[in-house]
Amino acid sequence: MIDFKNISKKFGKLQVLEQVDLTVDKPGIYAILGPNGSGKTTLIKCLLGMTIPTSGHIFVDGQQTKGKWKFRSQISYLPQIANFPKNMTANELLRLIKNLRNQPSNEHSLIEVFGLRPYLDKKMGTLSGGTKQKVNLVLALMTDNPIVILDEPTSGLDPLALIELKKLIKIEKTKGKTILITSHIMSLVEELSDEIVFLLEGKIHFRGTVDALKSTTQTKNFDEAIAQILKTSHV
């Protein structure tokens, strides 16, 4: 389904990704983890074609993505920082994305779920960070796509919304989608993910299930397991 072949990315002298090979061929939830600056977001952006890899190829459904744009209609993407044009209202933004994607969408139920109705005609500039993130979520999840990428989906969300989000992600999973998530909330990762891809200094350090991670690191607790990886890698 998604195939990273030998992906390297350099920003100037900084090597962010180094010969990453990653194949995601089964549906499920994949958590991309790693410390700050390990290349998570870069990897995701490479997949979307927002960042152009220095070398290597990416395939989505067997099609090479370089220079193409139609494959993006297969992907729902939640960007990390939800900053929107200040002058546009949430409604306008919704209409814009719907118009651009030209796909059926269920924004109404999502708006209800997140209680966004009172904010729809307010300008984005006037909304709080959490509300913006909710709009961000609606934008990302309203269309039905086989690949879903969520970059830090929980940031700024209140506990209630967080619960709703988890529900939503689980529902998406039952639809047989491939879901990539990056997050710093380990409980969320532990609860949701089928597989973990751990990036360290631009390379895939570990890939497997949460349980496999626990057993390789010989820890009982997921947080500890992660801490263990970080410790050993620095030795």
Partner: protein, 260 residues
Amino acid sequence: MFKIFKYSLSDLLRSSWSYFYLSFYLLLGFGLLFFNPDVSKSVITLMNVIVVFSSLIAVVFGIMYYYNSREFIELLLAQPIKRSDIFIGQYMAVSVSLSLSLLLGVGIPFLVYGVADADLIKKFLVLMAAGVFLNFIFVAVAYNIALYHENRIKGFSYAILFWLFMTLIYDGLFLVSLMTFKEYPLEKASLVATLFNPIDLSRILILLQLDISALMGYTGAIFKSFFGTTFGFLIAVSCLSLWVIVPVSNLRRKGNKKDF
């Protein structure tokens, strides 16, 4: 591309900035026409404002708009749209909205005043065309600078510097070198030097309307064929077009390559 253009334009047309800019031109236009006894003098003042001021606003506003819409661009980049369409669409929207402010802001006073003199109307149209060209050129340059510089302060400084260079420094160096090499035939060189500066080019377009009498006083044959016929006008217009085409195609190229 058209979708992006439409959305960015509607975004711009609702920003208070556009109204501020429009009302500036309205004030200027009405002020010049109604408080100045001499319409042809107004055209000269207008020329200075358009050449100097609207190019400054275009380059500043262009770079500001890009930096402010960076996240929006990222949002769009994840959508199934051609990458370059995002940049070109936004670029077009900024240029068109600035041009609209100029055309309406100066055009409405002219219409209200009821300028009927065909000669003056022609001068006015050339002025507007030069202004629109400058908007499209300076916004394109601003977008290029912005694409190459993530650092806003740096990008902003380069944009201002570019404007300053084109409006003032270039002509200063130009004049100094003309005076230094005055023993040599400079006719062709000075014409060529003009082509590399969009401000000079639009100035030439306007000079052809306002100062043709003085330009015809120069004895050189090349000047004569340049200024005395439509040849000069066509050359100036095509070079201005190149000044749009080259930055825009680089914008397209860079837009496809840039990392976000």
